[in-house]
Symmetry: C2
Subunit: 528 residues, 2 copies
Amino acid sequence: MIEFEQPSRRELLTAIGKAGGAVALYQAMTALGHAAPTQFAGPPKLSGARPGASVVVLGSGLAGMVAALELQKAGYKVQILEFQDRPGGRNYTVRGGDVIKETDGTVQKVQFAPGNYLNPGPWRIPFHHQALLHYCSELGVALEPFVQINLNGYIHSDKAYGGVPQRIAEVGVDYKGHVAELLAKAVNKGALDDTVTAEDKARLLEAMRGWGLLDKNMAYTTSLQTSAQRGYDRPPGGGVNGAPTPSQIASLSDTLDPRVWGTVSGFFSRTMQQTMFQPVGGVDMIGKAFARKLAGLIRLNARVTKIAQDDAGVTVDYVDTVTGKASVAKASYCVCTIPLPLLSQIEVQVSAPKQAAIKSLPYHSSCKVGLEMKRRFWEQDEAIFGGHSFTTQPIGEVGYPSTGFFKPGPAVLLGAYAGGANAYTFAAMTPAQRIETALKQGSVFHKQYRQEFSNGVAVAWTKLPWITSCASTWSEDLRREHYQNLVSVDGRIVLAGEHCSYIGAWMEASLLSAIDAITRLHQRALAA
Amino acid sequence: MIEFEQPSRRELLTAIGKAGGAVALYQAMTALGHAAPTQFAGPPKLSGARPGASVVVLGSGLAGMVAALELQKAGYKVQILEFQDRPGGRNYTVRGGDVIKETDGTVQKVQFAPGNYLNPGPWRIPFHHQALLHYCSELGVALEPFVQINLNGYIHSDKAYGGVPQRIAEVGVDYKGHVAELLAKAVNKGALDDTVTAEDKARLLEAMRGWGLLDKNMAYTTSLQTSAQRGYDRPPGGGVNGAPTPSQIASLSDTLDPRVWGTVSGFFSRTMQQTMFQPVGGVDMIGKAFARKLAGLIRLNARVTKIAQDDAGVTVDYVDTVTGKASVAKASYCVCTIPLPLLSQIEVQVSAPKQAAIKSLPYHSSCKVGLEMKRRFWEQDEAIFGGHSFTTQPIGEVGYPSTGFFKPGPAVLLGAYAGGANAYTFAAMTPAQRIETALKQGSVFHKQYRQEFSNGVAVAWTKLPWITSCASTWSEDLRREHYQNLVSVDGRIVLAGEHCSYIGAWMEASLLSAIDAITRLHQRALAA
C-alpha cells in the first residue's frame, strides 16, 4: 500500500485525473486505499492434505460445514459431530409442523401455513459478505433482495410525537430540515467563521438549502417543497382535482428523539446498507445446501463430553442423545465450532490461556417472535412493502416480509426482535406471553393486529438447549486479553465460529473464521 | 378534516394516547391529517352507461387503455385508435430483434440477448402509486423490487474528490459527520441559544454525536467508529488477522459538492423512496396486459388528422399509416390521450381556451442508453447490486439492473439517463455516438466498460416520430392559466394523459388522469 499524507490525497487524485483520464483515476482509487469490501479472497486453497490425516469437526453450523467441505476437498478424511437432530446450527428456519423445545421442557409446535417461515437467527446478507455470497453461488442457493430500507415504515417513540407512530420518511425529512435550518442560521451569524473558509461557507449554505429543503428565508417550513419528500396531506393526482396540499411538518423537538436520528443514521450502518439479500424460502437453505455436500459425514444427536489430544491425535468422547450410548471419535486434528457457553462446560485439553478465553467471553441473547397474519394488511392497507417499523418498546421493531409481495393469503410478520435486557425479559415469559406481548406492542403500529392474527411462534435463544444464548459479545478489553488465545492453533485443535471473529453474529463471521482456522491447521499439519 | 392549530397537535395526540391507548392513537393519526399515500380510491364506479352511447379513445397508452377498459365495463361501446403498430405508448420496452425508427430515418436494430431489455421510458413504480399497483394486480402483472437505494453505488463529480468516484456510503456518512460536527460546534459556542431551548440544546448535541458518529471531542474523525458506517480500509474478518483498520474520511469541502448532498437528499424524494417495484420482464408487461383485455378494440397504425364534434357526436378522421387509406371513426364521446406536441398539430374542435392550453404546454426530453455487457462485472467485481451511480457528466447516471442478480451471462446496464439540455445534445448525435458517449463517460466508474461491452441501444425521445418528446413540463404560471382549461370536458371531448395531472411523467399520472376524465365524461353523458 502506498502511503500518502492525508491532505495531499485530493490534490494527488486531481493530478492523476488530469494526466491519465478516467481509467487511471479508477485504478488510483484502489491503490489509494478506498474501502475494501471484504477480507474474503476466494475459498481457501488447501490442496495436498497431510497423507492419511483426518479431522473431526465439532458442530455442523456454517463454520463447521465450510471447514469440513474445504478440508475434504484438500484430501482430509472428515467427520462431523452434531448435537442437534439437524445440521445448520444457528442457520435456522422454522416452518409449519416444526417443534421447538426449550430448556425448561416447554414445547412449541409451529402452525404456519405451507410456504411461510420465520428465521429466528440470521436472516439477511449484506452485499459485502462476499464469502457467504460465494458459497451461496457455489452451492446453488437462490437469493432475493431483502428490503432493509423502507421509508414508509413507522417510527414510534414513547417520548416523541405524543407517542404516535410516524412514517420514517416524515421524520427523516423533518430531521434533516431542522438540522439544516439550524446550521444555516449559525453560519449566517458568523458562528463558524473561524472553522469554515469563505468559499466553503457559501457552499455550506447552498448545501443546507438544497439538502434541507429550506425556503428563501432559509427556514424549514410546511410547503409543497417539503411535502415532495415527506409526503403530502393530499398527494398530486390527475384531472380537475389533481392539485396537492402540503403536509404539516413536525417540530424540531420531536425530531431530536434518539429513535429518529438513530434510525436515519442506522441505515448507513455498514452491515445494514442496501443492497441486502436473503435466501429464497428461508435462511436455512444455506445450511441445507452445505449439508447435502456433506452427506454421510454428519453424525447427528451427538453430545460431546470431552476433547483430548496427544502426540497421536485427537480423541472426542460423545454420547448419543437418543440412545444414551457413549462413543469415541478419533482423528488427527479437530476443528471445534461448539459455542462457548456449551464448550466452557466440556473438558477440553488445551492450554490454560485458551481455557481462560473459552470461559471468559460473554454471549448476548435475542428473541424473535413470528406472527402469522391472515392477510398482508401492511401491504394492502398501509402500502408497506418489506423493511421495518421501529419502536422504543421492548419488541424493538416489526419486520415485514421481503418475499411474496402482493400475494393473497397468510404471511408472517417479525413481531418482535428483542435484544439486550429485553431479550431476557422475553425469555422469562412463556411462548404465549411473548406472542401476546408482541401483539400488544405491535398494535401501536397496526390496528389490524388482533383481528388478523392467526398464530405465532417465539424463539428465545437463551432457552434453546443446543446453544443457550445467541452470539458472542467482545469488548475491547476482552479482545486484548483473550482473542488471540482463543483463535490460536493449540496442538491439534483449533476453534472456529462467529466467536472467533471481529464480525460477530453474522453468517459471514462463521465462514471467515473457519476458513482462517483450517488454513492455519493445514499449515500446522504440513509442518508437523 | 378537523382543523387544529399547529402547536396543539402534539399535545392533543398525547392526550388521546393517555385516554385511549394505542388503537385510539392509530386512528387519530389518520384523522389528524397524516400524509395520505394516494388520490386513488379504487377503480371508478361508472355502472350504467348512457344507453347506446359509444366512446372513441385516441391513443392506446396507459391512459387510453384504462379509459377504454373502465368505460367498456360501464357499458359503453369502445374503440381505440392507435398511431403506432403496437399498443402501450410510452409504456415501452425494447428487446433483441426490435427496431427503433427515428424521425430522420435512422434505424436501430436491438441486439440484446434473449431475456434482456431496456425500458426507455418509465421503469419503476413507487409504493404509493396505488392505481398502478391496483391494475398490475387486477391484470396479473408480476412485480419485483426495484433497488432504488444502493449505497455501494458511486458518486462522481468533476468538482470534488479530484474527480475520483466515491461510494455513496462514504460520501453520505462523511457529509452527515461534517454537518454534525459543525452544528455541534456552533451550539457549543452558544450561537443558537436564542433559537433552541436549554433542554433541546442537550438533545441536539446528543443527536449530533449519535447521528454524526462524533468522537468524545465532538469531532468527525477517521476511526473504527466512522468506518463502521462508511466502510473500512480492511474490514473486520475472522481468525488471527480479523482486526479491522479504519478508512480515511474525506474533507468537509469535498462533501459540500451538490452531487453529494443532492444524492443523499434525493433518496428521500417522495417518488424515489424505497420500496419501489418494476414489472418482471420489462415495464411493457403492463401495457400488454391492458391490451389483452382490449383485444379487438384497438386499431393500430391509425394517424388521427381531425377531431370534430356536434350535437350528434364526435367524428375522428384518421389515415392508415400502412395503406394510406383515410377513414372516419364516429362515436358519442371522445377521450383523447394524444400527447400535446402531436395534438397541437391536429385540427381539434374544442373551445379557444382549450386550444390555447393544448398549444401552450412545453414538453421536456430524455435520452436513455442501454449497454449490454458480456457479464455482470458491477456485481462480480464491485459488489454493486441494483441502484445507481451518479455523475455530473451528461449521462447523469449509470443504472444497474434490479433483476437477475448473480446470473452469469450478458446483462443490460442503463448507460445514460440524460435529461434537460443534455437530452437534446444526445438526441442530436447518431445512436452510435450516443453509445460511444455513454461508454466514455461511464468508464469513469468502471474500467471494465470497453472490454465487456457487447452492444447498445440509445433512445432519444425527441427523435421518436410517435411522440417527438418525453413528457409535459408544467410551471406554476402555466398551471394557473391553462390547467383547468386543458382537463375540462368540452362538449363530447375530454383529454387525458400524464399532461392532465399534477404528477407528471409517471404511469400513475396517466391512470389517475384517465380515471378522473372518464368519471366526468360519464357524468356528462348521464346528464345530457
